[in-house]
């Protein structure tokens, strides 16, 4: 059985499991305060994130309109983001190489202000 993309523990100790890249279930996360989020890495291990005010997640893909791989949805990057009062931590996972890039950015960074605000959890 495949591991869930993420596992969440809420402050009331209840839990929620995510899905996979085709159906992440991010929008189905109950509207409760998250205490810890465990996110699946390409290695099969989970990255634990705690102490954040809120979280965001999205998958970046490309779809070629021409060329030899046209019509195939290519998963490029996976982002898991945790926000504190003063700054935001962005993990960018390269789904082709497995490399992970970590950045701490200000909460008013353009990268964050351009995100769809509906999907913070």
């Amino acid at each position: 059985m495949n591991k869930p993309l993420f596992q969440i523990v809420f402050t009331d100790n209840s839990t929620f499991n995510g899905g996979n890249y085709q159906n992440t279930k991010w929008v189905e996360i109950p509207n409760k305060k998250i205490r810890t989020l465990f996110y699946l890495l390409p290695t099969g291990d989970y990255l634990g994130l705690g102490g954040y005010e809120r979280f965001y997640h999205f998958v970046e893909c490309t779809e070629d309109l021409s060329g030899e791989k046209k019509g195939i949805k290519n998963l490029e990057f996976d982002y898991i983001i945790g926000q504190k009062k003063d700054y935001t931590t962005v993990y960018q996972i390269d789904l082709k190489t497995g490399c992970i890039d970590l950045k701490n950015i200000k909460n008013d960074d353009k990268f964050l202000t351009k995100l769809n605000p509906d999907f913070w959890r």
């Binding site: 890249y21 085709q22 159906n23 992440t24 991010w26 929008v27 965001y56 997640h57 999205f58 998958v59 970046e60 893909c61 490309t62 779809e63 070629d64 309109l65 021409s66 060329g67 030899e68 791989k69 046209k70 019509g71 949805k73 290519n74 490029e76 351009k114 995100l115 769809n116 509906d118 999907f119």
Partner: protein, 211 residues
């Protein structure tokens, strides 16, 4: 579920949108279909164009003025809709028309979808002649977002090449809050007296996100 993209071309009337007049659009089967940029290749061919036909109908470089490739045709491999035809002229390509190339998303996105051009499906380089030989501003592939407004007469557009020269498909308005049809117009403009005639393939890519 992951947000899905449909790519459609207008083959009837580039003044009407997909939502109100879906019959004017053909959905490009991205696995089997493709776009052909040509000077004189015929609309409504009853067979898939051969290499010879593509070469015979190629655009001619002009020694004095820049040339916009005359036609873009949708090569419809299944030729099961709109009659038994393989080629369909894309209406409004390069003109002051709004509803030409449609990017139809069935759900929300986390960021704004964008149109890109690359040498290959690796999305690593943009150094072919058509993409400006490594200088994105010199790319012959021009694109303009027409989701909200007409592009204007003789529109210049963005020279598409690589990660820096892209077209934001929601007109810079950001992520999609739900299902939405986005539009763009495209053209290939060959500089006057361009010194390297070539038959080049390149990759047009739509980059988008979902939660």
């Amino acid at each position: 579920m992951a947000t899905l993209l449909k790519f459609l071309v207008n083959i009837v009337d580039a003044d009407v949108n997909y939502a109100t007049t879906p019959a004017d659009y053909g959905e490009v089967d991205l696995t089997n279909d493709y776009l052909i940029w040509s000077k004189t290749l015929a609309d409504l061919m009853t067979h898939e164009p051969t290499s010879s036909e593509l070469n015979e109908n190629a655009e001619i470089i002009d020694p004095a003025v820049a040339v916009t490739v005359s036609k873009c045709l949708w090569m419809n491999y299944s030729h099961e809709i709109f009659g038994p035809y393989y080629t369909h002229l894309v209406k409004g390509m390069g003109e002051n028309k709004k509803f030409v190339y449609c990017f139809s998303f069935d759900g929300a996105t986390a960021t704004e979808p964008q149109l890109e051009a690359w040498d290959t499906s690796a999305h690593a380089t943009a150094v072919k002649n058509v993409l400006g030989l490594g200088t994105p501003a010199n790319s012959m592939m021009k694109g303009v977002c027409t989701t909200t407004t007409l592009p204007g007469a003789n529109w210049a557009g963005t020279s598409l090449a690589g990660a820096s020269n892209v077209v934001l498909l929601n007109d810079g308005s950001g992520a999609l809050s739900g299902a939405k049809d986005l539009y763009a117009n495209m053209k290939i403009k060959i500089p006057a007296n361009y010194s390297t005639p070539a038959a080049e393939t390149f990759v047009l890519t739509c980059r988008y996100t979902y939660v």
